[in-house]
Subunit: 628 residues, 2 copies
């Protein structure tokens, strides 16, 4: 019976998913990609994942835990907690409005791949023999002897000095019944009284130039328990990488200031995620961080000066492990911080994470991977070889352009179109009154203005267009939404400067793509797949991205959006030692191309400043559209 | 020619020593055991080791360095710096009074054994290839690649996080010419610009219950560069171990208070030793510490509560390594602190160091080792097995009894005798007016008073003795030195309380010896050697020690005084990795006997409260003396 599979239908989405006997409805919902709230990761302590079960015979009986959150009236209507409801047969589940996830503006999740759980940090519950006058072994020896030794490989166990200090009391608090946390093969990082096997968490962090995203992960299940995100507070010292690095190296203490900002932000993410999930930060034993090379050096306060000067060598690119307390990170005192390895130049472990998630490095045929953000990484390759470059694309493509508000749950325009009469339609996140434009809408607005002739192929406004939306004399702007319709009462507009910024960004990105292809002697038709990662990923209008000339002119079916793959890759490394070995190998394998010293860079960049490109033949589908 | 050996005669001592071509006079003086000042360890920067060379043809010419310290007039008289003078032939050297070592009251040195240099910390001078656009390896990888890898044993190099932070600047400061300091097989703890191979130092520390002794050691030569000592500032919280432990566990924060005191003291020793020798503390890369179990737990601030409760198990006894910065020790920031392994109960790494120095663990025949101090450790055994116990003997036997003043260079009575007319003769350290009694004189005074009948075999004053030196009615005291002869103008006396303390201490020590012998079924005549270590070692009067009943009645020629062997053993571990492996094996091999739970303890102790013992047959030579 246990090998049977059942089908679960989720309404109102209408999505079906196959699942096995005994799986929870929450697990099925995740597999189906259905939006369902859960703040505790399925531990039965938040009560947010309420669903309505239509076939009560196909699930377990309501549990005592559920009765705390579900009223008698709700129970009569079939309400249950998804995390506590086990699937015993085919089933229809209705997700009520109040249990739907509120949509966040920033992409905090990426494509997730199933992975075998084998985290670097493990817990062992041990019952030790008490010392006696005939057995006077020291406390620590007693612990060492009881631990499994298969992973030692000739090494010895070692214990964190702070853990050792309190060891005698902890061993005796519950009569020599303890739980030992071991990192790697031999490093004891925590010893607790009693059985705490169920409290084993990790935290994955993507330190982006603009945003910092953190995922709290249950290392017993691999499930993400909670997700938090913040603007990178370093933006105070510059939106782009180079201004921040310039600040960091300009005066003593600046580097530490930037480090402090990002560490404080990560501490805030940890605190918020733990509070929501009712988990103590002391049960987070490892923090896996990804970021580009600049973010890496700034996070670690490693001198970044020579990353900015030719030949742009980082101080270190191998995986780094150090103690959480060395950075005052708000987690277990003996916990370990792991920064995944970098590739080269500004291409960091975020790009490496993209490779892990997409599996590009395993594919036979050539693929292109673009991780679009304030800094954009591009990789081209397959199982044999991978070539990579990075471009400073600026913050334009990422997040909201006009107004900020990372934690707001709605109001950003995520999609729009301009009719032939120059009227604009749009859709906001959360279907509320608009406050500004999302990254995806930024692409739409320039592409749409170009399609209907409001701007020319160099992005200049056409003064002959007759619509009151185009206003101003010497300095023109186009009104996207009238103040009467916005949440703020102010018009939402696009200026020449806005358009120029978009063109600069897309030109930088496209230049990276075309130089990589040139160096590898690859044409667009040779590319089997394009993976697009980044903070707008899921909402981008592919046609408009091609019209703008942001991505190569490739059939839609070859394109896969992978969202924030960086954080997904960090989580993979958090839960799997094998993935870390792959990451390490990849870090050495990927070859790096320094774009700024490429002889074709300037010409390619200037040609790419046109919409879609100076050479229309490189965008045949757009050429056809324009001619039709 | 270089294989020739020469004889050097040191005057006025009249000691001769064989030495090889090119050795320095300072090295020869050390080998001869001649007292010669040298504050910089032979580096030519203190100018204290002035000697007069009688055969100028048998040495090198005066160097530029020497001319800084030796006037023209002195040069004419044959004055030279011993450290700069190389021996090319047979030679007579006169050591002038001003170059003689001042005698310290506390024993800061012990028996030294020649040992092959192979310290755990090593330096490598490397010249790296600069990065270029065709060679963009990260900085750290460049360092790793250039380091010798023979000791890696499958591990990887690791770098201290703080060292990594500044690595890029250091590599480029002298054009990729660097010196890397590696601890153990793979731990990079420092990277410096340029060639600093000659600045590689270690510090050995003996944390005694009463005194802390520190030796600054040049790890390139194994030579002791400077020696410093201090009273253990923890005495403020109790002279004996148990009062300090009771304080430590009685309230939160007390443990850290005691730790802070000893760490501050060690920092002071380091600072003073380095200042004298003109060495930067940042060139001290390893600190090797020895101490008994209580001092160990207090130094590390590891919960010592269960060391005081049956079955008296320590938290840890293996060698511990941790970073100097975790304790804020004033040495290289990446430096390592190593506490040598303990044995069991209160028998710590100081006792283990005694074993290393005496080589008892290698001897075929049975030997007894007594390390007499505030806490006394006793070991009995040979190459096959060793049994050990510890006794709380109190501070009476150690250092000065009446007055304190650890850094005073003279004035303590180190030897005395009482004539049949009850008159007292004495000898002070430095031959100056007396201020008090040394540990060795304390033994003398009780033994001598017993011999001439001033006290009986229970230590009671004989009221019938006719001398004005015995004074007082109900509370009696014996005047050792009249105020007219002392430096202070006050009489130096011995009271009943003083005598009782000596008897308690010697009874505790002798009880340890006799119970060990009983358990091993050993009689005094079976013992081939007795090693006596401790702070009075070199000055003790063996006959009086036997009359007092402090040590078993054994022929004088079988007794060897080894001084402060604890610090010598710590230095052996500092300069030799092999010695550390031996220490580790010994820590596991020595069996521990808990005296306080031994069924014979009380009776043995009471019997030992007599002078020399209740059972005179156990001291046949004393019995004979008394009957003669």
């Amino acid at each position: 019976m246990e090998s049977e599979t059942f089908t679960v239908l989720f309404e109102p989405d209408g999505r079906r998913v196959k699942t096995s006997y005994g799986f929870s409805v929450l697990q099925a919902a995740k597999k189906a990609g259905v939006s369902l709230r859960s703040e505790c990761g399925g531990r039965g302590v938040c009560g947010k994942c309420k669903v309505i079960i239509k076939d009560i015979g196909a699930v377990n009986k309501i549990t005592e835990i559920e009765k705390k959150y579900i009223s008698g009236e709700e129970a009569n209507l079939g309400y249950r907690l998804a995390c506590q409801t086990k699937i015993y047969g085919n089933l229809t589940v209705v997700i009520p409005q109040e249990s739907r996830l509120k949509i966040r503006r920033i992409q905090v999740e990426g494509l997730e791949k199933p992975i075998r759980l084998n985290p670097t940090v493990k817990k062992f519950h041990l019952k030790l023999l008490k010392p006696s006058l005939s057995d006077i072994k020291p406390d620590l020896e007693r612990v060492f002897e009881a631990l499994p030794k298969q992973n030692l490989k000739g090494n010895r166990f070692r214990i964190d000095y702070d853990v050792l200090k309190g060891l005698p009391e902890i061993l005796r608090r519950r009569d020599w019944d303890i739980t030992v946390t071991v990192w790697g093969s031999n490093k004891i990082i925590d010893v607790e009284s009693g059985d705490t096997l169920d409290r084993l968490f990790g935290f994955a962090v993507d330190v982006g130039t603009s945003k910092i995203v953190g995922h709290l992960v249950d290392l017993n299940t691999g499930e993400t328990v909670n997700v938090k995100a913040l603007e990178n507070p370093q933006v105070e010292y510059g939106e782009d990488i180079l201004s921040r690095l310039t600040f960091a190296i300009s005066d003593k203490g600046n580097l530490e200031t930037l480090q402090r900002l990002v560490v404080d932000a990560v501490n805030r993410l940890i605190a918020e995620a733990c509070e929501d999930a009712k988990i103590s930060p002391s049960h987070i034993y490892e923090l896996v961080v990804v970021g580009n090379t600049a973010m890496h050096h700034l996070f670690l306060a490693v001198q970044p000066k020579y990353v900015t000067l030719s030949p742009f060598t980082p101080a270190v690119k191998d995986e780094i492990n150090f103690r959480a307390k060395e950075l005052n990170l708000n987690m277990n005192r003996g916990g370990i911080v792991t920064f995944l390895p970098l590739i080269a130049g500004f291409i960091g472990s975020d790009a490496l994470a993209d490779l892990l998630v997409t599996g590009l490095y395993k594919l036979k045929k050539l693929s292109l991977l673009m991780d679009i953000g304030t800094n954009t990484e591009i990789m081209l390759g397959n199982f044999k070889e991978i070539l990579a470059c990075s471009c400073a694309s600026g913050p334009t493509m990422e997040g909201c352009h006009h107004k900020d508000g990372l934690k707001a749950v709605g109001g950003a325009i995520e999609r729009l179109g301009i009719e032939s009469n120059y009227e604009v339609w749009y859709k906001t996140i959360g279907d509320v009154k608009p406050v500004g434009l999302c990254g995806s809408a930024i692409i739409d607005v320039v592409a749409e203005m170009f399609k209907c002739g409001i701007i020319d192929n160099r992005g200049r406004f056409n003064p002959n267009i007759k619509t009151r939306r185009l206003r101003g004399n010497s300095v023109k702007e186009f009104v996207i939404v009238w103040g009467s319709e916005t949440a703020t009462g102010m018009d939402i507009t696009v200026t020449q400067k806005d358009i120029d910024e978009v063109l600069l960004a897309k030109a930088a990105i496209f230049t990276g793509c075309s130089i990589l292809m040139k160096r590898e002697n690859v044409r667009v038709k040779d590319i089997e797949k394009v993976f697009v990662a980044g903070n707008f990923g899921n909402y981008i209008n592919l046609e408009n991205a091609k019209i703008l000339g942001l991505i190569p002119d490739i059939p839609n079916e070859k394109v896969t959006f992978v969202g924030n793959a960086a954080i997904s890759g960090a989580k993979m490394a958090l839960v799997s030692r094998r993935v870390r070995r792959v990451a390490e190998a990849l870090s050495k394998k990927v070859r790096y191309l320094e774009l700024t010293v490429d002889p074709d860079f300037n010409k390619e960049f200037i040609d790419a400043m046109f919409i879609p490109h100076k050479d229309l033949d490189r965008f045949p589908s757009v050429k056809q559209l324009l001619q039709s």
